[in-house]
């Protein structure tokens, strides 16, 4: 059986990759992909601690992961709807070009 620190280091690397993708890419959809990777790293940690914890009979870790997956799916749906609305307004999804709260300063 793999020791617990290996799982934690794996999820840390996954979290760092997601954070880097979130901070480095220009496209808003890529920022959402980075957020998804970070959420999955957190889920991996939940499962690892559930498996190695003392109260492994209770389903608390699984429940936490299930609720996190559901909320992450809702977050993705709203985020992608925002991206599509931004594209319709500005004809771009690059996050460094969408830096104004009002839409009137640029022609559509």
């Amino acid at each position: 059986m793999t020791p617990l620190p290996y799982w934690l280091i794996l999820s840390s690397i996954l979290f760092a990759i997601g954070l880097a993708g979130c901070l480095v890419r220009r496209n808003a959809i890529m920022v959402l992909i980075g957020i998804e990777l970070m959420l999955n790293a957190a889920n991996l940690n939940f499962i690892a601690f559930w498996r190695y914890g003392s109260g492994a009979e209770a389903a608390h870790g699984i429940m936490f992961v299930l609720f996190a997956i559901a909320i992450a799916a809702a977050e993705t749906a709203v985020g992608l709807a925002l991206v599509i609305a931004l594209y319709r307004l500005r004809r771009t999804v690059q996050v460094d070009e969408a830096d104004a709260l009002k839409a009137d300063d640029k022609p559509r």
Partner: protein, 178 residues
């Protein structure tokens, strides 16, 4: 180290690297699906069967397809030469991620309490999970259902095309206008 864990970890991390670093965004979405499948396999390897199956259903089946649709709808898929994929401050972003990783790994390595034996694999049937959801976790489940309904309505309203103000909505009375 277990070879199954090693292979799954390599596949997952390679998919994640491809998902954030590739130039063509359709390729990024496909790499993301590989990462999701790898994480589902890691869940199964840990003995969390139900979570692994939910991971495949929700992430590979819904979220990856939703991201592909968003990429196609916003025309992000055509990677033209000369258009910058990475932001101007990418060095700061990479440095932040590396610092985060170093902090997390240092904290994990310096925690000797984590080196413990795994207990016996728990027997957790889907029936037991369902019973728990319907008894102990009933209120969070209901709140989650409310949240998902609100999210669905909100996403539809956000993505709906905005009509220009002042003009009436197109309808059957359109022919009456001069």
């Amino acid at each position: 180290m277990n070879p199954v864990f090693f292979i799954l970890a390599v596949v997952t991390l390679a998919g994640a690297l491809g998902a954030v670093a590739l130039r063509n965004m359709v390729h990024c979405a496909l790499c993301l699906a590989v990462t999701f499948i790898g994480i589902a396999a890691l869940f199964l390897h840990q003995g969390a069967q139900f979570a692994g199956l939910v991971q495949v259903l929700v992430y590979v089946g819904a979220v990856a397809v939703l991201i592909v649709f968003a990429i196609l709808l916003t025309r992000s898929g055509d990677a033209r030469k000369g258009v910058a994929v990475f932001s101007r401050s990418w060095k700061t972003g990479l440095l932040t991620a590396a610092a985060t990783l170093a902090t997390l790994v240092a904290a994990i390595v310096n925690s000797p309490g984590l080196l413990r034996e795994a207990p016996r694999a728990p027997e957790l049937s889907v029936r037991q999970i369902g019973l728990d959801l319907m008894s102990q976790w009933l209120l969070p489940l209901e709140i989650l259902g409310l949240l998902l309904t609100a999210t669905m309505i909100g996403a539809v309203i956000l993505a709906m095309p905005e009509k220009p103000s002042g003009e009436p909505a197109p309808g059957p009375e359109k022919g009456a206008r001069p």
